[in-house]
Symmetry: C2
Subunit: 441 residues, 2 copies
């Protein structure tokens, strides 16, 4: 409404502070003012804290999403007839799903223009995993990204300076001002970045459990519902799956190790949970895209693309289009490998009842697989390879896992911690299913 | 506790955000970090908003006060045997009390090292009023201030860069981030600044009503109680009076006009409410200082200092010590005077039932008596002189007030607004007493 400078940001902050409802135009003005320097970093931070503590309703969250989305370029694929659908995960341990899922879905006739993220803290990032492939460039500019999507049907890049720059700047502030943990702010950040790629639809993988951002189901369901409602209000088809993150996904944690596992899944192999998650999310993407009407049909189509090698072929073409070495597909030994593998023996015999994903992630982080500051370098080779899953019977002295390390002595400080992350018991209690729920509105 | 940099400010912000209680050491570290540049402006702003919305308890407010107080020099008057007591008002319209009160109390044997403020928005500031005296320098450095207090018993200066610099920097942020309206933050700001002058005791004038920062009694009482509790916890004797600000104090609004009225009070004259407020607050100061045990005795002592000219003599010596012209005491015509006085006639005959202090303050502001931005210049000559108080009978056409203006045409746009600020009725309803309450714990 008002376009006065100066007093306006203060009134805007005070309105939210006092429980008021902000209009779409006001929110747009505030975000624009921030990008133009009329609203300062400290004003934005004060507002973010007020928004976190007082809350934003759906209409405000939609307006914030749109304002952040339109702070940069919004891609259009005018010559592309295919439906454009992406997937976003809220982050877990061993979550390499995007790498196998995106090419597989592309092989089924859906364009997947994916804007992915880097790992920070205990969760890994798709970009770091892809960069384990020699030569793979995640920093294509928007025009090249569009060309790869058109030609190959799939491209995975990082957020560029052109796409949702307000989200980048606001996220950088949230990260250092204790304002990350707000569902509306999380939703606006995810959606603004994702929708900048010009999507028709989005499937969300909202993870719940010790290895996830959301530790409990109530909070995760709220996040999923808000994502779906706000995404739909922004005119996109959106569905969310609530999935279990009480154990790591698959059998690998660490960048090159995870990429190798994703390639196995594309080739028809891979651990059953990684495969199941890929099929469950892929089926939602095909349904949203209108390729299939029924989940069973969609799953069969995805399985077919996996068994026929069509998914692997898309993956190889995507890698090549990004400057990477497509021979990793046939020869995963071309991925960087740690020179040493150190076993972690089972301290007792029994059945693996639980595996703490957070503990393993923190060990992988300490080995150099992740970063605690955004400017840290990572070692793509290092990580943890699990020999046992939940429910596996193990014998005392047999390896529960292998640490992939640069030097043998690097493993020593972590052996007992990795061992303790595995709960070995007489028997396993009932475990929650991999897909806990489906949120459509 | 922890002295790690980096993660620490974020954890500190998140702790308050999540309803946690902050320890004194943590608060001290955060404020020190802010002054040393390890805590950024945007982190401080996010924390201020969390503190405003979640609240700070007394212990946290004491710790914040102490941290801000000790961010700079805390004055000691080691050679001075007199008790040191100051007064602080939360700000009103026509509030010139400090100017007559401080010298009067000094004349009764109490040292008054007063750190005063400037006007901003609709309320005036003691410094601006004193600067209406030709030559008066409010910017003495700490050493000179201490010397004047020792020699004269009273000095009134502005906050210097040496005293509570954290308060200055934090206040500047609060002013532009919607974080002014927090009782704990207000209390810490007031007390850190005041206690930096090395006080033994402090009397607070917490104003309530349309012309005050606090519009209702519940909020004002909470502010008064918090000020008293936190001040006492910081080891000072503190009392607060809740006083009525539903009408302007006295008969003048504007800098030179108000200083003239204060001189009248010191000379034994002045409007009855200005005199009463001076005596009520002065009696509290004498009791806190241990000069008198009973209010009646204290008031008699103050009246004696007023009638004997002892207060006026202190005032003249203080003015001279600050480089000002002490002859304004005998000859108020030496104060700057506006060239034009424009009457505002009563529209009807009757009794003045109410005078809106805020409306009159906004007119004085528009005439140039105040500022809306901290860097604006003010005109010491301009303002409003009231001819009628609440309860005065007026006849249609007689002046309700006079506008003191630089040019005659300057008055025209404001005449009807000033007239409308006076409610003239058949009779006056019961009005609240000037001193509404006394808060001692």
């Amino acid at each position: 409404m008002t376009t006065r400078c100066g007093a306006n940001p203060i009134e805007f902050i005070a309105k939210k502070r006092d429980g008021g409802r902000l209009g779409a135009t006001e929110i747009q003005d505030f975000v624009t003012g921030f990008m133009e320097g009329r609203v300062t970093d400290y004003q934005m931070s004060a507002w973010l804290m007020a928004a976190l503590l007082v809350g934003l309703d759906d209409a405000e969250t939609v307006a914030l999403t749109q304002a952040m989305l339109h702070s940069g370029k919004v891609l259009r694929f005018s010559s592309l007839r295919l439906p454009k659908v992406d997937k976003h995960s809220t982050g877990g341990v061993g979550d390499k799903i995007s790498i196998c899922l995106a090419p597989l879905v592309a092989a089924c006739g859906v364009a997947v223009p994916m804007i992915a993220g880097r790992g920070l803290g205990h969760t890994g990032g798709t970009l770091d995993k892809l960069e384990a492939i020699p030569g793979y460039d995640t920093r294509l500019e928007a025009r090249r990204f569009q060309a790869v999507v058109r030609d190959v049907g799939v491209s995975i890049i990082g957020q560029t300076a052109e796409l949702a720059p307000a989200d980048r700047r606001i996220y950088a502030l949230r990260d250092v001002t204790g304002t990350v943990e707000s569902i509306p702010l999380i939703v606006a950040s995810i959606l603004s970045k994702k929708l900048a790629a010009g999507l028709d639809g989005l499937v969300l993988d909202v993870k719940v459990g010790r290895g996830a951002f959301m530790k409990d189901l109530v909070a995760a369901r709220l996040l999923a519902r808000t994502l779906v409602r706000v995404g739909r209000a922004a005119g996109r088809r959106v569905v969310a799956l609530l999935t279990d993150m009480s154990v790591p996904t698959g059998l690998t944690i660490g960048n090159a190790l995870e990429t190798r596992e994703a390639i196995e899944v594309l080739g028809g192999g891979g651990p059953p949970d990684t495969v199941e998650l890929t099929l469950a999310l892929g089926a939602e993407m095909l349904i949203i895209a209108g390729v299939d009407a029924r989940r069973g049909d969609a799953r069969r189509r995805l399985e077919q693309a996996r068994r026929s090698g069509a998914g692997l072929e898309r993956f190889a073409r995507m890698v090549a289009a990004h400057g990477g070495d497509p021979r990793v597909v046939e020869d995963p030994a071309r991925l960087p490998r740690a020179p040493e593998r150190v076993p972690v023996p089972a301290p007792v015999s029994g059945t693996v009842a639980a595996i703490d994903p957070r503990e393993l992630a923190l060990v992988a982080l300490a080995l150099g697989a992740g970063r605690t500051r955004a400017d840290q370098a990572i070692d793509p080779r290092v990580g943890i390879e699990l020999s046992a899953r939940r429910g596996t019977r193990v014998t005392r002295g047999e390896p529960l896992a292998w640490l992939h390390v640069a030097r043998r002595d690097q493993a020593n400080p972590h052996l007992s911690r990795v061992s303790a992350a595995f709960a070995v018991a007489r028997r396993v209690a009932d475990v929650s299913p991999l897909v806990i729920g489906r949120v459509t509105r």
